[in-house]
C-alpha cells in the first residue's frame, strides 16, 4: 500500500517537473509558432548549473536562482540573436536551427565539463524522510520539489490570467494579429515568453539534478516526453500542459514500477489512444 502511495507521489512530482519544461515549450510554440528542439538541452544546462554551483559553493540553494537568472539571460539572447529571424520561416528551418543548437550546447558542455556522469547531493536540510501516514515516509527533497513546482504553476496561472503582460500573452497565443491591432509591443512579448520559457526549463533541470543525476544528452529523453505531454494535453494552453504533464508523469512512473515489460512504451500507447480519440489533445479549447 505504501509502495503504491510512494509511486503515486513520485509520479506526481515527476509530472510537475515535466510541467515546468513543457509549459515553456507549449507557450513558445503557442505565441511564436516555433518548435524548440533545444528545449531539452536547456534543461540539461540547468542541471549542469546545479552541478557546478552546488559543487563550488556546497549549496543547491544558490544554484536555483543562478539557473533562473541564467535562463532569463540565455533565453533573451537566443530570442534576440537567432529565434526572432525564424518565426516566419518553414518548420524544417526551425527544426534544423534548434538541432544545430543541440549539437553546439552538448559540445560546449563536453568542452567545459567533460562527458562523465555526476551526482548532485540533496541539500542536507532536506536529506531526510518525512513520516506520512502510518509507517509510510517520503523523501523531503521530493516533497519540496513537488511544492515548489505547484507554487510556480500557481504563480504562472495567476500571472497569465491576472496581469497585463499575461493577458497580452494570451492574446498573442490566440490571435497574434490582435496584439498588433491593440498597439502592444509584440517583440517585447516574444522576448518575455522566450526568456521565461528558457528559465523554467533550466530551473526544472536544476531541481531535477539531485533526483536524476547529471549526464550528457540527459535532455533528449525529457524533450520527447514533453512532446508527448504537449500532444496529449493540447497545444498552447497552460492548463493542457499542466494536466497532460500530471497524467504522463503518473502513467510513466506507475508503468515503470508495475509493468516492467512495457516500461518505456506505456506513455506512447496513451498518446496513440488520445490521437485516435481527440487528435487536438485532451484539454484543447475547441
Amino acid at each position: 500500500m505504501s509502495g503504491v502511495a510512494a509511486q503515486l507521489l513520485n509520479g506526481l512530482q515527476y509530472g510537475l517537473l515535466l510541467f515546468l519544461i513543457s509549459s515553456g515549450l507549449t507557450l513558445i510554440f503557442g505565441v511564436m509558432g516555433v518548435i524548440n528542439l533545444a528545449h531539452g538541452s536547456l534543461f540539461m544546462i540547468g542541471a549542469y548549473i546545479a552541478f557546478v554551483v552546488s559543487g563550488g559553493t556546497g549549496s543547491l540553494w544558490l544554484a536555483l536562482p543562478a539557473a533562473v537568472v541564467g535562463g532569463l539571460a540565455l533565453g533573451a539572447v537566443l530570442e534576440r540573436g537567432l529565434f526572432r529571424r525564424f518565426y516566419h520561416r518553414e518548420h524544417l528551418d526551425q527544426v534544423l536551427l534548434t538541432f544545430a543548437l543541440i549539437l553546439l550546447f552538448e559540445e560546449g558542455r563536453s568542452v567545459l565539463l567533460g562527458n562523465d556522469f555526476h551526482s548532485v547531493p540533496v541539500p542536507a536540510a532536506l536529506d531526510v524522510a518525512v513520516p506520512m501516514v502510518g509507517d509510510f515516509s517520503y523523501s523531503a527533497y521530493r516533497l519540496a520539489v513537488l511544492g515548489a513546482c505547484l507554487a510556480i504553476a500557481g504563480a504562472m496561472f495567476l500571472a497569465i490570467e491576472r496581469t497585463r503582460i499575461g493577458s497580452a500573452i494570451r492574446a498573442a497565443a490566440e490571435k497574434p494579429e490582435m496584439v498588433d491591432l491593440l498597439g502592444l509591443d509584440a517583440r517585447r512579448i516574444h522576448m518575455v515568453v522566450f526568456a521565461v520559457g528558457t528559465a523554467l526549463a533550466m530551473l526544472a533541470g536544476a531541481l531535477a539534478a539531485p533526483l536524476h543525476s547529471v549526464y550528457p544528452n540527459m535532455g533528449h529523453g525529457f524533450l520527447i516526453i514533453c512532446f508527448v505531454v504537449v500532444v496529449v494535453g493540447g497545444v498552447g494552453s497552460i492548463a493542457g500542459a499542466f494536466w497532460g504533464a500530471l497524467l504522463i508523469g503518473i502513467v510513466d512512473t506507475l508503468s515503470k514500477a508495475y509493468l516492467p515489460f512495457a516500461s518505456g512504451l506505456a506513455v506512447y500507447v496513451l498518446m496513440a489512444v488520445v490521437l485516435l480519440w481527440r487528435p487536438t489533445g485532451l484539454f484543447a479549447r475547441s
Binding site: 528542439l37 524544417l92 528551418d93 534544423l96 549539437l103 568542452v111 506512447y268 498518446m271 485516435l276
Partner: protein
C-alpha cells in the same frame, strides 16, 4: 515547388553515378565503404524527400523505418544459415511499410508541429521496442549474417576482398532505381496529387481529393523506401543497433535534404554526400566533430536557403544563352 533534373542535370547525375561506380578501380576499401555509407544515406534522405519535398510533411521519426528495415535482417533469423537478399529485402519493405502505415495512420490526424512531435514520439517508441524488448537482441546491437545473393539454390559467393566494391555497386544500383522510380512517380496522378497537397491542401480537398489517404500512401511508401535504405545499411555493415532508429538520424536526414536543396528531387543525394564528406573532413581536422557540424548547420540554415542544388553558376549561363532551356530544370506541377 519540386523540380526533377532536366536533360543536362540528368547527364550530370548520370556522370556522377558512373564516377562513383568507377571508384573500385583506384580507391581503397575504406573509401569504398565510406562512399557506400553516403549512398545508403542518400537513399534514406531521398525516401524522406517524398514526404518533405513532395508532400510537404516534415517528419522527425523517419529513422525508425530505416531501423526497422535494418532489423528485418535480424528478425528474419539471419543468425543461423544465411538467407537470400531476395527474401530479406521484401521482408524489410513489408515490415517498415507496415510500421509506417500504423504510425502514419495516427500521426496524420495531426498537422504541422503536432505532426512533427507525434512522428518523433512514435519513432522513439519504436526505438524503445528494439532497445528494451527481446525482439531487438540487446541495447548494444547485434551482428547479423549478411544476406546472400542467391536464387533457386544458385549462389553468387562474394569474397571478402571483393565485398566493398560489390556492395558499392549494389547500393548504387538501388539508389539509381529509387531515384528513377520516384521521378516516374511524380509524373503519375498520385505524384501530382501529392505535389498539389504540398502547394495547397485545402484546395485539393475541395477538388475532391481524399488528402488523408493520399498522404498516408506517401507516408507508407516513404517508410518502405527508408526500410530499403536500412536493409542495405544492415547488409553493408553486417551489424544493426537501436541507435539506427534514434531521432537524431531523422534530423540528420532532414539536414541532408535542406543541405542539398529542398526544391529538387536529387537534392537529398547531393546533401547526403556533402554531409558524409563534411563529417569525414571534420574528423580529420578536429576531435570536436559535432561542433563543426553544428556550426555548418547554423550557417546553412541562416545562409544557404536553396541548398547545394540551388547554387547556379551565373557566368556559365551568360556564356551559353542558347543552352538556357536545356539547363533549366523541368518543373513538375500538379
Amino acid at each position: 515547388m519540386l523540380t526533377v533534373a532536366g536533360r543536362t542535370g540528368s547527364i550530370v547525375l548520370g556522370c556522377a553515378a558512373l564516377a562513383v561506380a568507377s571508384l573500385p578501380l583506384f580507391a581503397s576499401p575504406y573509401h569504398l565503404e565510406l562512399v557506400s555509407t553516403a549512398v545508403v544515406f542518400a537513399m534514406f534522405a531521398l525516401s524522406l524527400q517524398l514526404l518533405v519535398g513532395v508532400t510537404g510533411l516534415v517528419s522527425l521519426g523517419h529513422a525508425a523505418f530505416f531501423g526497422v528495415g535494418a532489423y528485418a535482417i535480424h528478425l528474419m533469423g539471419a543468425h543461423g544459415p544465411s538467407i537470400s537478399v531476395l527474401i530479406t529485402l521484401p521482408a524489410a519493405v513489408l515490415m517498415s511499410g507496415l510500421a509506417a502505415l500504423a504510425v502514419g495512420a495516427l500521426a496524420l490526424r495531426t498537422r504541422n508541429f503536432f505532426f512533427l512531435m507525434t512522428t518523433l514520439a512514435f519513432g522513439q517508441m519504436l526505438f524503445f521496442v528494439f532497445h528494451d524488448t527481446p525482439l531487438g537482441g540487446g541495447a548494444d546491437g547485434v551482428f547479423v549474417t549478411r544476406p546472400t545473393f542467391s536464387l533457386f539454390g544458385l549462389e553468387w559467393v562474394v569474397s571478402r576482398q571483393d565485398r566493398p566494391a560489390v556492395m558499392l555497386f549494389v547500393n548504387l544500383g538501388v539508389l539509381v532505381a529509387m531515384y528513377l522510380g520516384l521521378a516516374g512517380l511524380l509524373r503519375t496522378m498520385f505524384g501530382r496529387a501529392l505535389l498539389g497537397i504540398r502547394a495547397n491542401e485545402h484546395r485539393m480537398r475541395s477538388m475532391g481529393f481524399h488528402t488523408y489517404w493520399l498522404q498516408l500512401g506517401a507516408f507508407t511508401l516513404a517508410g518502405a523506401l527508408a526500410g530499403v535504405a536500412g536493409h542495405m545499411w544492415g547488409m553493408t555493415q553486417a551489424f544493426v543497433s537501436p541507435e539506427l532508429l534514434a531521432w537524431h538520424r531523422s534530423a540528420e536526414a532532414l539536414l541532408m535534404i535542406l543541405l542539398g536543396g529542398l526544391g529538387a528531387l536529387h537534392g537529398p543525394i547531393l546533401g547526403a554526400f556533402a554531409w558524409v564528406g563534411l563529417g569525414e573532413i571534420a574528423q580529420l581536422i578536429t576531435e570536436r566533430q559535432r561542433l563543426v557540424e553544428g556550426l555548418v548547420i547554423l550557417a546553412v540554415v541562416l545562409g544557404l536557403r536553396h541548398g547545394l542544388a540551388g547554387i547556379r553558376v551565373p557566368s556559365l549561363r551568360r556564356a551559353m544563352p542558347q543552352a538556357e532551356p536545356a539547363t533549366r530544370a523541368e518543373e513538375v506541377s500538379p
